[in-house]
């Protein structure tokens, strides 16, 4: 290993290690949180989970939040280089900015994959242990982790350009404003209900169990397309980051 990749590995080995460890602890952490929320003892929650009695929705929701929250640590690999001198040094090399940004994106992608793999491996090991000791098939969350991986990739595609352009702190604040504006627009849409959009959505929700075309055809298709959308947005985000990097670097030491 040499060059930029070696530098990134040395600088961020702690984050990489933490990412690998997240998978091992995500399910136990979800169960602990669930026991706290429900006010039940941990052993009862684990028992319910093993015997498939626990509310699957609650576990899925807790894993969802935990996975995405810990995933934000991936942006921290950008913090270590937020210095103007370093940016100028990078820019002084031929093809420096592109290769620097590319390595950052590759590292963040590798960390996302590492997290997915560690989650899936721990899931499989828990499954093996429960089979060997109790002869019980416990819930497998592999497909949830795969979905979360793509969501995470999509969120990073939005995160990274903001962080590079405005710095981590300012970037997070601007990103938050961006999401608040989106949220407000959504609320206005719900309240204004143009062309009965909400009525239509409510109709879909009410017909959840029926064989509506939306649920049998459109939703699976959107689910299937999303991985490609997130991969494409990640690539597009890389192109944008290459363009805005120097503009952001001007503000690093202010």
């Amino acid at each position: 290993m040499n060059g930029m990749l070696y530098k990134e590995y040395k600088q961020n080995s702690l984050f990489i290690l933490l990412t690998a460890l997240v998978g091992v602890f995500i399910l136990p952490a979800a169960l602990i949180m669930l026991s706290q929320v429900n006010g039940a003892s941990l052993s009862t929650t684990i028992n319910d989970y093993i015997l498939n009695k626990a509310d699957k929705g609650n576990i899925v929701f807790t894993i969802f939040i935990g996975y995405l929250a810990t995933g934000t640590a991936q942006v921290l690999v950008l913090v270590t280089d937020s210095k103007k001198v370093w940016s100028l040094f990078i820019a002084s090399n031929p093809d420096g900015i592109r290769s620097y940004i590319r390595i950052k994106y590759e590292l963040i992608f590798a960390m996302a994959v590492l997290m997915l793999i560690s989650c899936c491996i721990s899931d499989r090991i828990i499954g093996l242990i429960s089979q060997a000791t109790l002869n019980i098939d416990i819930i497998n969350f592999t497909s949830l982790y795969i979905a979360l991986f793509y969501i995470q990739l999509f969120l990073r595609a939005i995160d990274i350009p903001f962080s590079l352009r405005f710095g981590i702190k300012k970037g997070s604040a601007i990103k938050l404003c961006f999401f608040i504006i989106l949220f407000i627009i959504l609320i206005i849409l719900i309240l204004a209900n143009p062309s009965g959009v909400m009525d239509t959505l409510a109709g879909f929700a009410a017909n959840k169990k029926s064989e509506s075309k939306f649920l049998t055809e459109i939703v699976p298709l959107l689910k299937g397309i999303f991985p490609f959308v997130s991969a494409a947005s990640f690539l597009l985000s890389y192109k944008i980051s290459c363009k805005i990097y120097m503009k952001g670097a001007e503000q690093y030491d202010k």
């Binding site: 290993m1 990749l5 590319r102 590759e106 994959v113 997915l116 793999i117 899936c120 499989r124 090991i125 499954g127 093996l128 089979q131 060997a132 098939d137 592999t142 497909s143 982790y145 795969i146 979905a147 991986f149 793509y150 049998t216 055809e217 459109i218 699976p220 298709l221 689910k223 299937g224 397309i225 991985p227 490609f228």
Partner: protein
């Protein structure tokens, strides 16, 4: 010791490791857990973990021979090679769907019903995207376990010793023989076919030669092992979901006629793809030699 002798020694150690770790583990698992339980049964996860034996063997060989981690193929090299990554995602789909179509036609399916069944066109597309393409990252990781051994280590050594043609043929045979204990136990084809288990092992060896040619081409072009792992992941996911392939009447035919009848069709399509890759590799090799002479 000359360079070639060194490479040969390393290759022999790797092969001894791969074949030394796997059969004893295979026998141990069969004796304790039971074959049906650990291959696709309730302990099916163990079979997936065994895919890492070639990677472990290559790592151990590198440590024993003090070779270091050079040419590990672990760099993504996405830059300028994105086309090969896209090829690794799409070509296996073409291979499997064309094979299924040929099989459906050869086995007497009416042309009108070949594309029928299995829901609407949107549902077929959703099935492909959700069940075959979405799990590619995690499946590619499992395939990486094998490819780090076969392509990134054994392939490189064979290439320096026997050239590209030797790499594809000898490498394919070695890989095919590695699967032999499982084929002999009934993996893929069961155990009720003429010439069992030798015909099954022969078919797998041929498949490994043709598939290996395409994988070697991808690895040489990108100097990375990931496209090969992605290629195999897509093939693997197609194979797992084979009975639900969006080619009408396919499932029924396959259930009736068995995998042993379908496999030669895949082999023919694979052979065409492998031959194309071999021609491209040999032509490039010739050009390189001509340029060095000039």
């Amino acid at each position: 010791m000359t360079n070639k002798a060194k490479e040969a020694k390393r290759l022999l150690i790797f092969i001894a490791m791969v074949f030394g770790i796997y059969p004893p583990l295979f026998a141990l698992l069969n004796g304790t857990v039971g074959y049906d339980n650990w291959v696709g049964g309730k302990y099916g996860n163990i079979a997936l973990m065994l895919m890492f034996i070639p990677a472990i063997a290559s790592l151990l060989t590198r440590i024993i021979t003090k070779e270091g981690m050079g040419q590990s193929g672990l760099h993504l090299r996405l830059n300028r090679h994105i086309g090969f990554y896209i090829a690794a995602l799409t070509v296996p789909a073409v291979i499997m769907i064309v094979s299924a179509l040929i099989f459906a036609c050869v086995s007497g399916e009416k042309t009108s019903s070949v594309f029928g069944g299995c829901g609407s066109a949107v549902q077929k597309l959703s099935f492909l995207l959700n069940n075959i393409y979405a799990p590619v990252p995690i499946t590619a990781f499992l395939c990486l376990g094998e490819e780090l051994g076969w392509r990134a280590y054994m392939g490189k050594k064979l290439e320096s010793l026997t050239g590209i043609a030797g790499t594809c043929v000898i490498g394919g045979i070695i890989r095919g023989l590695w699967y032999a204990p499982m084929i002999a136990k009934g993996l893929l084809f069961g155990n009720e076919y003429g010439g069992y288990p030798y015909i099954g092992i022969l078919l797998v060896c041929l498949c490994c030669i043709f598939e290996g040619t395409a994988l070697t081409w991808l690895t040489i072009k990108t100097e990375s092992v990931y496209p090969a792992a992605i290629f195999r992941a897509v093939i693997f996911l197609f194979a797992v979901n084979i009975n639900a392939l969006p080619v009408g009447g396919f499932a029924a035919n396959l259930a009736k006629r068995g995998m042993i009848k379908f496999f030669p069709v895949i082999l023919i399509v694979y052979a065409v793809a492998g031959a194309l890759c071999a021609v491209m590799m040999l032509a490039e090799n010739k050009n390189c030699k001509a340029q060095t002479k000039n």
